[in-house]
C-alpha cells in the first residue's frame, strides 16, 4: 500500500539525528515535527527568523508576533533564538543547517528539483526555497511518487523551471526511498506491500536496484 502523508512524515522522521538543526518546508515536511523519535533532540529552524520552533500555541497564548515561515502562529521551544531574515539565510546558505526537508513538483536524476513555478499558472514566488537548496549538504525531498494523473515525478530531467541544481541527496515518496548517487536513483526501500515492479513503472528516471529491496519500517503507529 502506498503511504499516507503522515506515514511519509513518519518515515522521514527516521532521518532526524540527535543534535540536528532542521528546516522543514511547507506540506508533508511540516508533519515530521509530529514524529520526532524518542530520545533525540532536534531544533527546527524557521527561515523568517526563529531557531527552535515549538508546537502550535494554546488559544490563550497565541502571539501575533510569533509565526513560522508558513505564517502560522507557533511557540518558541526552550533554548530558542530570534534573528533577522539576513542572519536566517546566513545559517542556511552558510551550510549550518544539518538537514533540509522540502516538497517538490519534480526531481531528476542529476539531483535537480523544481518546486516553485508551473508555466501558465500564476506564479506566487520562490520564497526561501532557492536559498534552502543552494548550498545545504543534506537535502531530502518529500513528495508523492506520481502526480494525480499517474505521471512520474521522478524524472530523467525536470520539465518545470528549476529551484536548484544538483542538490538533492534523497527522495522519500509514498512508494519508496530513493538515494541519488552517480546520476541515478538507487532504490533503498519499498513502502510496505509495494512491489519493485510498481515502483519501476512509476519512475521515469533511471532506477538502480541492487538485490532484495527491503520494506520501510514504520515503527510508531499512525494516529487516526
Amino acid at each position: 500500500m502506498a503511504l499516507t502523508k503522515d506515514q511519509i512524515a513518519q518515515r522521514l522522521s527516521q532521518e532526524l539525528k540527535d543534535g540536528y538543526y532542521v528546516n522543514l518546508g511547507i506540506g508533508i515536511p511540516t508533519l515530521v515535527a509530529n514524529y520526532i523519535p524518542e530520545g533525540i533532540q532536534v531544533m527546527f529552524q524557521s527561515e523568517n527568523g526563529l531557531l527552535g520552533m515549538g508546537e502550535f500555541p494554546a488559544a490563550e497564548t497565541v502571539d501575533p508576533d510569533l509565526i513560522n515561515a508558513g505564517k502560522q502562529t507557533v511557540t518558541a521551544a526552550t533554548g530558542a533564538a530570534y534573528f533577522s531574515s539576513s542572519e536566517s539565510f546566513e545559517m542556511i546558505r552558510g551550510g549550518h543547517v544539518d538537514l533540509t526537508i522540502l516538497g517538490a513538483f519534480e526531481v531528476d536524476q542529476k539531483g535537480n528539483l523544481a518546486s516553485w513555478m508551473i508555466p501558465g499558472k500564476l506564479v506566487k514566488g520562490m520564497g526561501g526555497a532557492m536559498d534552502l537548496v543552494a548550498s545545504a549538504q543534506n537535502i531530502i525531498v518529500a513528495m508523492m511518487h506520481a502526480n494525480k494523473k499517474g505521471d512520474s515525478k521522478i524524472l530523467k530531467e525536470c520539465t518545470l523551471p528549476l529551484t536548484g541544481v544538483q542538490c538533492v541527496s534523497k527522495v522519500i515518496t509514498d512508494l519508496a526511498t530513493l538515494e541519488l548517487r552517480d546520476g541515478a536513483f538507487h532504490l533503498l526501500e519499498r513502502a510496505p506491500g509495494v512491489s519493485v515492479e510498481e515502483i519501476q513503472e512509476k519512475t521515469e528516471a533511471n532506477l538502480v536496484i541492487n538485490g532484495e529491496v527491503p520494506e520501510m519500517r514504520l515503527s510508531a503507529p499512525v494516529p487516526a
Binding site: D65, I92, G164, A224
Partner: protein
C-alpha cells in the same frame, strides 16, 4: 534644538518628503512586523508610481494590500506574493511589474545595500531562471551568481521599543527584514509600540543602533494574524 531626538508625533511628519516614483522598503514577513500606521499614511498621501520592496505584498486590503487597492505601486520586489487577489489581477493585467527574488537573496541585497556593498556572489538561484542574464563565477569548484544590492529613498519599519534617539528593539519574529531595511533607507522611519528615554534600553541588547534611524513615531497596531493555528487537544 532637536539634537538626537528622532521623535515625530504626526504621521504626516513621519513620511514628509515621500513623493511619487520613489523606492520604498517596508518591513515585515507576511503581516508580522509591518509598519501598519505608516502604510496607512502612505495611502493617505497618495504618492504614486512607487517601487516597493518587501518580502510579501500583504493580503487583500491589509498591509501593503492597501497600496495595491489605491494602485500606488508600480513595481513590486518580493519573494512570495500569494494570498492577494488584488495583486493577482494587477499583475495579470500588466499594470504591476513584479520582480520575484529568492528570500535569502532579497535579505542579503538589502543588507548589502545598507552596508555599502554594491553587489555580491551567492550560490542561490544558480542554474535557474533567477540567474538568467547575470554574471556567474566559480569559486572552489562551485558556481555563484552576481546579485546587486538594494537601497531605498524611504524605509518604513516596525519595531517593538525605541528610545528617543532611535535605538530599536524588535520582538520575536517581527524582526525579519526590519533591521536590514533600517540600514538601507536614505530616510528610515520606525513605527514602534513604545518609546522610552535614552538609557532605558540596555546598550547590550539594542538590535538597530539609532544611527540608522531618522524618525520614530509611536503607533497602535492591529497585528492581524494570517494563519491562526492552535495546538490540538490531546487525543482521548
Amino acid at each position: 534644538m532637536a539634537g538626537f531626538n528622532k521623535i515625530v508625533t504626526r504621521y504626516e511628519d513621519a513620511l514628509a518628503g515621500l513623493t511619487d516614483n520613489m523606492t520604498v522598503m517596508a518591513g515585515g514577513f507576511g503581516l508580522c512586523g509591518i509598519p501598519e500606521g505608516l502604510i496607512d499614511q502612505l495611502v493617505k498621501m497618495g504618492a504614486k508610481g512607487l517601487t516597493c520592496i518587501s518580502n510579501n505584498a500583504g493580503v487583500d486590503h491589509f498591509g501593503l494590500g492597501k497600496l495595491l487597492d489605491t494602485r500606488q505601486i508600480k513595481t513590486m520586489i518580493a519573494s512570495y506574493v500569494g494570498e492577494n487577489e488584488t495583486f493577482e489581477q494587477q499583475f495579470l493585467s500588466g499594470e504591476l511589474e513584479v520582480i520575484l527574488t529568492p528570500q535569502g537573496t532579497l535579505a542579503e541585497k538589502i543588507r548589502a545595500g545598507g552596508a555599502g556593498i554594491p553587489a555580491f556572489f551567492t550560490p542561490t538561484g544558480y542554474g535557474t531562471m533567477v540567474a538568467e542574464g547575470k554574471e556567474t563565477r566559480k569559486y572552489n569548484g562551485k558556481m555563484y551568481v552576481l546579485e546587486e544590492s538594494l537601497t531605498a529613498d524611504f524605509s518604513l519599519i516596525k519595531a517593538y521599543k525605541a528610545d528617543t534617539m532611535g535605538n530599536l528593539i524588535y520582538r520575536k519574529t517581527t524582526r525579519n527584514f526590519n533591521p536590514m531595511m533600517a540600514q538601507a533607507g536614505r530616510i528610515t522611519v520606525a513605527e514602534v509600540e513604545e518609546i522610552v528615554e535614552p538609557g532605558e534600553l540596555d546598550p547590550d541588547f539594542i538590535h538597530t543602533p539609532g544611527i540608522y534611524v531618522d524618525r520614530v513615531i509611536q503607533g497602535t497596531f492591529e497585528k492581524r494574524i494570517e494563519q491562526m493555528t492552535l495546538k490540538q487537544p490531546a487525543h482521548a
